[in-house]
């Protein structure tokens, strides 16, 4: 299902390219891709992927009663959480990066395509991947903390993250999406209909955004590992 959702962008890219080749579309592949990037990948895909995989990390083992198979082995509980986190990150990264790359290539490969364009898509992919890692870390923490983390995760991913970014000043810095937007190409009113996504954005500097995203990932992962090490989990009946 999530593979299907991820590949929706590829399907969309194919349709648009066909439409473009038929001469109905005049805007450049770069602009179209940025639209898909902002709306589909940034606001939706990385959130839903990390939400599902992150909140399932411990909950799945508890509901399936399979946790004792892991916790009765000579690996620390922190290693279990970090291992599971990395496995989920690897899987979701494949879904994300492959679809970003394919969609980009479908929309942009033509006679003018240069190898340096690949640098652009690599940069986008890296930013999205940082977002994915940060969200996944936060949702992993929720999974170790709460017995039903998905609702709070939904409220955070699709509620808080959507609303807070349009608040002025430092308030918007309390979201992950703010730092991701700061790292992505800035929209102006002239560059597309989605410029509204950048209203009120008071971007943070690139290096600081990267640092904060890495810190968010590290802090919540450490908290998750710590909580999982000391918390007792009673199997559900």
């Amino acid at each position: 299902m999530f593979f299907l959702l991820s590949s929706a962008s590829v399907l969309l890219a194919v349709i648009i390219r066909g439409y473009q080749l038929a001469g109905h579309w005049t805007e450049s592949g770069q602009i179209i891709f940025q639209n898909i990037l902002m709306v589909f990948f940034l606001q939706f895909l990385i959130v839903i992927l990390s939400l599902f995989y992150g909140t399932s990390l411990v909950t799945e083992e508890l509901e399936g009663k399979t946790l004792p198979y892991l916790t009765s082995r000579p690996v620390s509980r922190a290693e279990i959480i970090i291992g599971k986190y990395l496995a989920s990150l690897a899987l979701t990264s494949i879904m994300l990066v492959s679809t970003v790359l394919i969609s980009y290539l479908i929309l942009n490969i033509d006679r003018d395509f240069r190898l340096k364009d690949l640098w652009t898509v690599a940069r986008y992919s890296l930013v999205l991947w940082l977002g994915l890692a940060a969200y996944l870390s936060f949702f992993t923490f929720l999974s170790t903390w709460l017995s039903k983390p998905i609702l709070l995760g939904l409220a955070f991913g699709f509620g808080w993250e959507n609303v807070i970014q349009y608040f002025p000043g430092t308030t918007q810095k309390l979201s992950v999406v703010h730092y991701l937007k700061s790292l992505l190409p800035q929209y102006t009113a002239a560059s597309g209909r989605l410029s509204f996504l950048f209203i009120r954005l008071e971007p943070t500097r690139d290096w600081l955004s990267v640092l904060i995203l890495i810190l968010i990932t590290a802090i919540f992962l450490a908290l998750a590992a710590l909580l999982f090490s000391f918390k007792e989990y009673l199997m559900q009946d």
């Binding site: 299902m1 959702l5 929706a8 969309l12 648009i16 439409y19 579309w25 179209i32 639209n35 898909i36 709306v39 589909f40 606001q43 939706f44 839903i48 939400l51 599902f52 909140t55 399932s56 909950t59 799945e60 509901e63 039903k148 998905i150 609702l151 939904l154 699709f158 597309g192 209909r193 989605l194």
Partner: protein
């Protein structure tokens, strides 16, 4: 020594009981389980806030003179007409509340049965697949009905009561039918949507992700397609846009998107039909291991 018992054929002389409403115990249990979930009652209560606000608007609309200070410049809000009722039944916040409630209390309707291999226990009773599905659907119907049909009808009756005359009824004679038809359509759609999501996995978390994932994804898809093709038909990709378009058709008011409302009606109906077929296929008494 006892003799070996003779194996013979015995005529069964009993009587078949008349068919009972076998779906009801399933619905009743589903409702009980939903209300037993953490925070469910709180969310359910909060879901009535829009209805309360609309009731207050109706009250103020009949006392405009007394509430001049509030209503000044916002007279349009206090106009009670088919658009008012349509706007209640197409509130984004209402749809979100329904989905949230159904995530807590409805996601596991089929998924939990699949997970615990309980479907075969149901079918070991005098129960048909239709009874089982109706029983499960009853839970969604109850919650969506109490948030759409019942408040909308009550709002209508409230308007008649506050007006103290049949003027409103005579001005819009078909309105109550529109309210009922639109609500039933919403009930049908949400029932199909929730049960379809619940039938796609035996993992409740996955079902919740599907419910919200598809809901948001459809809206995002509409946004992207609308930007690319700049066609009102892009609304056909969105769940909420389709429901709003159909509601406009039921209330015979101007649709929000510039295309005939019956296209959305046909699309949503087709979705419900396909959902029914998928659900029917998924609900099996025997697990098939491939």
């Amino acid at each position: 020594m006892t003799s070996i018992r003779e194996k013979g054929y015995h005529h069964w002389e009993g009587q078949f009981l008349e068919k009972q409403r076998t779906f009801w115990p399933i619905t009743r249990t589903g409702l009980k389980l939903a209300f037993g979930r953490k925070h469910f009652k709180l969310f359910y209560t909060f879901s009535f806030i829009p209805a309360v606000v609309y009731a207050v608007i109706i009250y103020i609309s009949e006392r405009l003179e007394d509430f001049k200070s509030i209503s000044q410049g916002a007279e349009k809000i206090f106009q009670i007409n088919p658009n008012f009722f349509k706007s209640y039944l197409t509130l984004d916040i209402l749809y979100f509340a329904i989905l949230l409630l159904m995530s807590i209390g409805g996601a596991g309707l089929l998924a939990d049965d699949f997970r615990h291999k309980a479907v075969q226990l149901y079918f070991a009773r005098p129960l048909t697949k239709a009874d089982y599905l109706l029983g499960k659907a009853g839970v969604v119907i109850f919650f969506v009905g109490t948030l759409t049909l019942i408040p909308a009808v009550l709002l209508y009756l409230l308007k008649l009561l506050f007006a103290g005359s049949f003027g409103f009824f005579l001005a819009y004679p078909g309105l109550i039918l529109s309210i009922i038809a639109c609500s039933l359509f919403l009930i049908l759609f949400f029932t199909a949507f929730v049960l379809l999501a619940s039938s796609l996995s035996n993992n409740r978390n996955y079902v919740i992700s599907i419910i919200f994932g598809l809901y948001f994804f459809s809206e995002i898809l509409r946004g992207i397609i609308s930007v690319i093709f700049r066609s009102p038909l892009s609304a056909l990709f969105s769940i909420t846009a389709n429901l709003k378009q159909v509601a406009a058709g039921f209330f015979q008011v101007k649709p929000p998107y510039d295309y005939p409302w019956y296209l959305s009606f046909l699309l949503v109906s087709l979705f419900c039909l396909l959902s029914y077929l998928v659900i029917k296929h998924k609900v099996r008494g025997v697990e098939v291991i491939k």
